[in-house]
Subunit: 360 residues, 2 copies
């Protein structure tokens, strides 16, 4: 087991990474101050991992409440949130209850947000069981639910007390979801660390074949990179925006394809190719570097082209996103492999050019 | 105008106290970073004060969205919260929107909580228009809504950027609500400041006749006292509990009488007499001091006896409260006028004795 520390002053916390961690009582014990714990998970994860987590908590001395919600993005809703609160209150869970979020990004977002606002905030530990959640949502404390008028519109920054990232749980992850996680790992490299990109180029086949050591290293390095950015910018005022490399295009792809048709990581992968092409059009990135981006994504089993959509439609969707945020569309570009920068002065013609180039 | 500073590091904020403040544009201007503001108020307050607040915000350069919800405790609900979110999203309010909470404690709790979780947190300014809100909920950043299984069960600590306490708005306050505010003012004195109790004994008649200078001083001193405690204990881990003087009994009275039958301040007043009697039974407070508590409350127009309830019923309700909190019932007692202390070792017989003495 290795541990990465997310340094946020009094809200600092460790991320433990390794195989066969979820059943280790000592990883939960420090956070069981009141003796009560509630596990929030979904109906897909529960049959796989609820029992070992529950037994670890009980071994650590906790009374455990189980809260099993439906699987899927629609669970990031008021309704599911209220199911969690109803269960917590019916079980007389007080402010000293430890919430344990067991599942992927949806469960982390839902249970983390529940922890943020239940009795004005209780402690939570995240046990991410998808690669995407292990490398992305486990760092940074972003929690949220959706509103009919927008994704992640209602939420809070609420840091977990600890994250337990057990790479053995990735064995049960469907192929497509595993690859979706690779997209965020590659993003961390491309935006922040050239040496990590080289490591990925040398080890992507091991990741695809789920070698645990390779997965553990990729998770660890991703968390380290993201943790460094988050520590400098907890509330996303500046540097944290670099983590959105590929996401402006990616969100437009997700919406354009119809939510759910493309997984988040798939859309981000195709979005990163567009962003790399844009970086090239803007004169920052060499054509050979754009090819490296494409090759790495392809080897990771990710799409490198978006769905069949007119460039104008994609640009319209990005403008809509901009309108919703009431700000300018700023693009995260690559100055080189491993070095992202935020640019606000990108003209529409260049964006169109990049989309066309990415489709070649 | 006078200002009290609530010292909470990077979350510090000023409370401005005086007459005719709500229409002053310069008090809002520093917090209008994005140019947008949304006023959350209710249908009783809107006809009285929405126009001057709106025009002050517009004078300060803001685009203003108006959100008017129903009056009353039932507004601290998911439904009302979602009305606020619907309105914010329909008006395309971004993360840089300033929320302005215009009204009493319910509006402060609702709008403050909305600000805490809208797009993971936006800034808010509180404009309390009831005495209770000016002296109590304006300090400390507690926000919440109710759940069918418990009051204030869902919420957040979210500090306002500023509080604008306009004592001129108290002119429109119904008599009973004004007196309810006196209870918390007196509580601050009894728990924390003997000199303030003396000031109250000398000026309670001016408060009852709504003399603005006296009201402004009482609001200011209350805020100073509460701010000192909150600064030392923002998340209510210790000292902040002293602010609950009279509240353990008070909550039981509120529940026993049926929610809404007794105003919060009325229940706290009768609860403070019980707590004073308990302090006397425990050997801390002199009988003459208990009489001073009674006299001051009586002169402020507050009840000094609870509703007709068997002592056993009250004690049962306090035990229920305790069960809900999964903790021991700890009592805030007075060691002398102006000096409260937390005691966990109070035996039931003493509590019963105090309730009986308070009913004499």
């Amino acid at each position: 087991m290795e541990s990465v520390s997310v340094k946020l002053g009094s809200r600092s916390y460790p991320i433990h990474i390794g195989a066969d961690l979820i059943g280790r009582a000592e990883l939960y014990a420090p956070y069981l101050v009141g003796g009560g714990a509630a596990i929030v998970t979904n109906e897909v994860v529960a049959p796989l991992y609820l029992a070992p987590v529950k037994s670890a908590l009980e071994k650590a001395g906790a009374r455990v409440t189980e809260i099993v919600v439906a699987d899927g993005e629609q669970t990031k809703s008021w309704q599911a949130l209220n199911e969690v609160f109803d269960a917590l209150l019916e079980a007389h869970c007080g402010r000293d209850t430890l919430l344990v979020a067991l599942g992927g990004g949806v469960i982390g977002d839902l249970a983390g947000f529940a922890a943020a606002i239940y009795q004005r905030g209780v402690a939570f530990v995240q046990v991410p069981t998808t690669l995407l959640a292990q490398v992305d949502s486990s760092v940074g404390g972003k929690t949220a639910i959706n509103h009919p008028l927008g994704k992640n519109m209602i939420g809070a920054f609420h840091q977990p007390r600890a994250v337990i990232s057990d790479v053995a749980t990735l064995d049960s992850l469907p192929e497509r979801e595993l690859r979706s996680g690779f997209a965020e790992i590659i993003k961390h490299g491309l935006a922040l660390d050239a040496a990590f990109v080289e490591w990925l180029e040398g080890n992507v086949d091991k990741l695809v074949s789920r070698k645990r050591d390779a997965l553990a290293y990729a998770v660890r390095r991703s968390c380290e990179l993201k943790a460094r950015v988050v520590a400098a910018d907890e509330r996303e005022a500046g540097e944290r925006a670099l983590l959105n490399f590929g996401h402006t295009f990616g969100h437009a792809i997700e919406t354009g394809a119809g939510y759910g048709a493309w997984l988040h990581g798939e859309a981000v992968a195709a979005g990163m190719v567009m962003a790399a092409e844009l970086s090239s059009v803007m004169g920052h990135l060499k054509k050979t570097e754009v090819s490296r981006v494409r090759d790495l994504l392809r080897r990771a089993g990710l799409p490198i082209q978006g769905p069949v959509l007119a460039p104008e439609r994609l640009m319209e969707l990005m403008a809509l996103d901009k309108k919703a945020a009431k700000g300018k569309t700023r693009f995260v570009l690559l100055e080189s492999i491993g070095r992202a920068a935020l640019r606000g002065d990108v003209d529409e013609g260049r964006v169109r050019e990049a989309i066309v180039a990415a489709a070649q």
